[in-house]
């Protein structure tokens, strides 16, 4: 298995100022995350809103530079490279954003959107029509503007734009998040076809477990900027270990503590956990291998 992207202990904090700019508060979006994305292994990242999934996606593509930690692309460190030198990387690792209504320039026609993506790529033999046909759009769509397209069509255009120049990895940040159920299925089927056709590797970010389970081979569960559990689909579906993963799998039946106050110390899941122990208040558990690459960060399994 060839490794495409690897990050080591990356963290990103945001400073939040109050309206007067007097006091600052540190918000940890992602904390000490290490992961690697291997060729052909689709990775799913799950977690609730605000768990840092999108920041992780942006950091992996270096749209947001991490505060600490290193990012490697095929073994070369690229964390600190300036944007000019990242062009080769940007062509190989593409990102699709959640909201297709906002991710297309309202003044560019479909043709211009795709042509522009081609400019950064040196060796293009494909035409705009070819690219559009990959995503199931007829060539007449070339001259349309984003406001003339439906949500699903826009997302197809965004996918087409990501396909230019044969990328090896596509990071999809909730690609169906703002689409209706029917369109969602079409887009997912399309992504699945493209995967087989072009040998793409996806990093699929979603809060929808069913999609992740269907689409991915590996799953990472994120909570408040931490990876709390990581493993293959079977491992995590059949045997979820972390209390948060169990909660995600079965939100109705699982019991949890309804406590609003968050702790700034100890385990990140502390304030909602029913299994919490004395130890959990004092230190944060580390991600440890339970069995065959099934990693979990919880004191219950140590």
């Amino acid at each position: 298995m060839e490794e495409i992207l690897r990050c080591e202990k990356i963290s990103k904090n945001f400073m939040i100022k109050d309206p007067l700019g007097i006091s600052k508060r540190k918000l940890t979006a992602i904390n000490n995350i290490s992961l690697s994305i291997n060729q052909g292994v689709n990775t799913g990242i799950v977690g609730e809103s605000g768990s840092g999934k999108t920041t992780l996606a942006k950091t992996l593509t270096l749209l947001v530079r991490p505060d600490s930690g290193l990012i490697y692309y095929r073994g070369n460190e690229i964390t600190k490279l300036p944007d000019r030198k990242l062009r080769f990387f940007r062509n190989r690792v593409r990102i699709i954003f959640q909201n297709p209504y906002k991710s297309l320039n309202p003044r560019s026609t479909v043709e211009r959107v795709i042509k522009e993506a081609m400019l950064t790529e040196t060796k293009t033999s494909e035409t705009v029509d070819d690219i559009l046909s990959h995503v199931g759009l007829p060539p007449e769509y070339k001259d349309k503007y984003p406001h003339q397209l439906s949500g699903g069509e826009r997302q197809r255009v965004a996918i087409a734009r990501a396909l230019v120049g044969n990328p090896e990895c596509i990071i999809a940040d909730e690609p169906t998040g703002s689409l209706d159920a029917m369109t969602e299925i079409y887009i997912l089927t399309l992504l699945d076809e493209l995967k087989k056709r072009f040998g793409l590797t996806y990093v699929f970010i979603s809060h929808n477990l069913k999609i992740i389970a269907e689409f991915c081979e590996r799953i990472m569960v994120m909570y408040r900027g931490h990876i709390v559990e990581q493993g293959s689909v079977e491992q995590i579906l059949k045997n979820p270990l972390h209390p948060y993963t169990r909660l995600l799998w079965n939100p109705e039946s699982e019991k949890f503590v309804r406590q609003q106050q968050k702790y700034n110390y100890g385990c990140p899941f502390l304030h909602r956990c029913i299994f919490r122990m004395e130890k959990c208040f004092h230190q944060s558990p580390e991600l440890k291998d339970k069995e065959n690459g099934h990693l979990v960060s919880c004191f219950l399994y140590e």
Binding site: R90, N105, R161
Partner: protein
């Protein structure tokens, strides 16, 4: 597009008629008239005043007066100014030329300065450059135009680097056209720079806000993610989208040329429409006021039309109907 322009130009007619009717009635119903002062003068006999009223057509009922005025206006005859005793058209023509020159000069200069600075400040948001430019913008917004004009006139009169007042210096009879033009521009510089300074501040603020707003949208992030060069992202993607609301502003600015510059014109002694309208209103110079109002209403509509047309050219989402 053609039908749209035609439609808008046709809309001009009822608007001008309505506007002129209301202003005509207001001026006529206000206490006193141009002859009030003459009546006080014992040297002018009441018969002379009656004669003048008949000559100017002021002896008829107000409504008839208005209709007569409207009829004449259709033939581009705006009547005769009471105070200057020359046709209003001649008077306005000279003054309008000056005001238009002033307005075009200051508008052009302020846009050319404000937009690039706003892009710079928007791109470097939060840095010292941004802060310095913002302070300058606040200064420009908060200082009233007459105050800036007074300061500037004081400064110029102390140093004497530029001529003050009027549009031209005294020349030889056979001075070349170029020399006259140069002299005209020099005279234009004082009110022009004042207006430009006052205009820059809020243009800068608006443009910077637009720029920052567009710069933070996901499609700009997507452009970065594709590895496009920064210049293409700033100018092609962000600037073009950020300019959209500015076209409406431009149209409004063209529309307010006449009244916007009045104070500055008066203080800098620039013989433009602003001072003319003020004098005319103060002395109840009916036909002059009406003529100036028609011109400014016309400019307002034309200005908005230009803004709308520019917007459709630059924004594919807007279609004119």
């Amino acid at each position: 597009m053609k039908t749209f322009i035609l439609k808008r130009l046709l809309q001009l007619i009822p608007m001008l008629i309505g506007m002129s009717f209301i202003s005509f009635m207001i001026i006529q119903s206000s206490p006193g008239d141009y002859f009030a002062q003459m009546k006080m003068n014992p040297e002018i006999s009441p018969e002379t005043i009656e004669m003048m009223k008949i000559n100017f057509g002021l002896d008829k009922p107000v409504l008839v007066q208005y209709l007569l005025w409207l009829k004449n206006m259709c033939r581009m005859d705006f009547g005769i100014s009471f105070a200057y005793h020359i046709p209003v058209t001649t008077l306005i023509k000279f003054r309008l030329k000056n005001t238009l020159c002033l307005a075009i000069f200051s508008l052009f200069l302020s846009w050319v300065i404000a937009v690039p600075l706003a892009v710079l400040a928007g791109y470097k948001e939060g840095t010292n450059i941004d802060r310095m430019l913002s302070i300058f913008a606040y200064l420009s917004i908060s200082l009233p135009s007459f105050f800036v004009a007074l300061l500037f006139v004081y400064f110029i009169s102390k140093t004497g680097v530029l001529p003050l007042g009027g549009t031209r210096s005294i020349f030889d009879v056979n001075a070349s056209a170029f020399l006259i033009f140069k002299d005209y521009m020099k005279h234009l510089l004082v009110p022009g720079l004042v207006l430009c300074f006052v205009n820059i501040g809020w243009l800068f603020r608006l443009m910077k806000n637009n720029f920052v707003e567009v710069f933070n949208t996901p499609y700009i992030l997507a452009a970065w993610a594709r590895g496009l060069p920064a210049s293409s992202i700033i100018f092609k993607h962000t600037l073009r989208n950020a300019l959209n609301p500015m076209f409406t502003i431009l149209g409004m600015e063209i529309g307010s040329i006449l009244n916007g510059a009045a104070l500055t014109e008066i203080i800098c002694g620039w013989p433009g429409m602003g001072s003319l309208i003020l004098e005319a209103v103060l002395s109840h110079d009916l036909y002059l006021v009406m003529g100036a109002l028609v011109i400014s209403g016309f400019l307002l509509i034309i200005g908005n039309l230009i803004g709308d047309i520019l917007l459709t050219i630059f924004d594919p989402r807007i279609r004119l109907t």
